[in-house]
Amino acid sequence: MSTRVPVTITVNGKVRTAEVEPRLLLVHFLRENLGLTGTHVGCDTSQCGACTIMVDGQSAKSCTIFAVQADGCNLQTIEGLAPEGGLHAMQEGFWEEHGLQCGYCTPGMIMSGVDLLNENPNPSEAEIRKGIDGNFCRCTGYQHIVKAIQYAAKKG
């Protein structure tokens, strides 16, 4: 048995402490330990981006990080994006522009869209497509996702 490690991780503004097995993936910590199931496991091989969250303000694939590596970090998940009772501009964009069909990729796609606009508030269409390189959608053909991100960029 490996030695469990104490971690203190801020998730959506709340400080969470736990003793975790070092091999626990961050995505499982979020989903199983904290019950934050908005972050999805898709490919589990760092490609599809369904597990995308913010780690210290930068998008990251939580299936490829151990929870122990996030000790002391500040995380944001899809659940922490919107103000109470409202929608974040990116979520509103996905709603208005029909940026999803089955919805499986959507939380990760939205987090990548938010990350993109944090770095580049007025991206070109090509920059949007490059910005979501790390997220796969098997339903939409991406067109409406690009429109959703454009909607959020316009809204500022």
Binding site: P22, T45, S59, T64, V68
Partner: protein, 284 residues
């Protein structure tokens, strides 16, 4: 996918990291971004019993100018390389190539040192470091050692590094007339073929060139046939076309997989050598 069990320690200095590694008796592995190692551990292709986290060692990440050279710390993320003003100014090819790695999420976590130590046959920065003639700085229990990138990469996932050494960083000279051209694998964004070209030209003539390829064979390596076809020639499209036409003729063990056959890779080595040379020439 769940990796096998392991213990976890965090190192606060290079010396402590090396001592922890030595004490593990060959069972430990360093982790920084983990974007090469964690996928391997999930597949149980790597089963270290100890992970030594080096991501928070002070000064292991960072980009600085020193004695006319540029130093990049091993724990510097690809995103930090991509967005570095210093690199954009003094060695734009390095920042541009980093921006072609994987996707934004991978670039936020993956590190230069990790990519070089792992030496995936289709890593991007391996070819860039070879073409730049970068020095890779290693620390072990016996002290420091510097290895030229062209000597560092020796085979598939094989580098000139002892089991008890750590990469501290890389050092290279500023360069303008250089470019990296890459054929992306659409899902992973690994290069099916990537070529980095560095030109030394004056008065419209190529003095010398260093051209390196990744993705095509077991490891990043120079293309001496291309370099020979450029040296001493007028820097023009005819020279570039002639050099690109021989690209890869000396390569052995061409990779073949579900993404590209060996024949296709051979063809693409020529195409992407030409593109890299054209872009480098535009800056010469």
């Amino acid at each position: 996918m769940i990796p096998t069990e392991f213990d976890y320690k965090r190192a606060s200095s290079l010396d402590e990291a090396v001592s922890m590694l030595v004490a593990s008796g060959g069972e430990g592995k360093f982790i920084a971004g983990g974007h090469s190692l964690v996928p391997l551990m999930k597949l149980r292709l790597s089963e270290p019993s100890l992970l030594i986290d080096i991501a928070r060692i002070p000064d292991l990440a960072g980009i600085r100018e020193k004695d006319g050279k540029i130093e990049v710390g091993a724990a510097t993320t690809h995103h930090a390389v991509e967005t570095s003003d210093l690199l954009r100014r003094l060695a734009p090819v390095v920042a541009e190539a980093a921006g072609e790695i994987g996707d934004p999420q991978v670039r936020h976590r993956g590190t230069l040192g990790g990519s070089l130590a792992h030496a995936d046959p289709a890593a991007d920065m391996t070819a860039v470091m070879v073409a730049l003639d970068a020095e890779i700085h290693l620390k072990g229990p016996g002290g420091w050692r510097a290895v030229r990138a062209a000597d560092f990469f020796q085979g598939i996932f094989t580098v000139d590094m002892a089991e008890d050494e750590i990469i501290a960083g890389v050092q290279f000279a500023p360069v303008q007339a250089a470019a990296y051209a890459k054929l992306h694998q659409k899902a992973s964004h690994y290069p099916i073929v990537g070529v980095c070209a560095v030109l030394q030209a004056s008065g419209g003539t190529v003095q010398s060139a260093r051209v390196a390829v990744t993705g095509a064979s077991t490891h990043a390596q120079r293309l001496p046939e291309v370099e020979a076809a450029l040296a001493g020639k007028a820097l023009n499209q005819a020279t570039i076309d002639a050099a690109a036409a021989v690209a890869g003729s000396g390569l052995e063990d061409i990779n073949s997989d579900i993404h590209a056959s060996a024949a296709y890779r051979r063809a693409m080595v020529k195409v992407f050598t030409r593109r890299a040379l054209e872009r480098a020439a535009a800056r010469a």
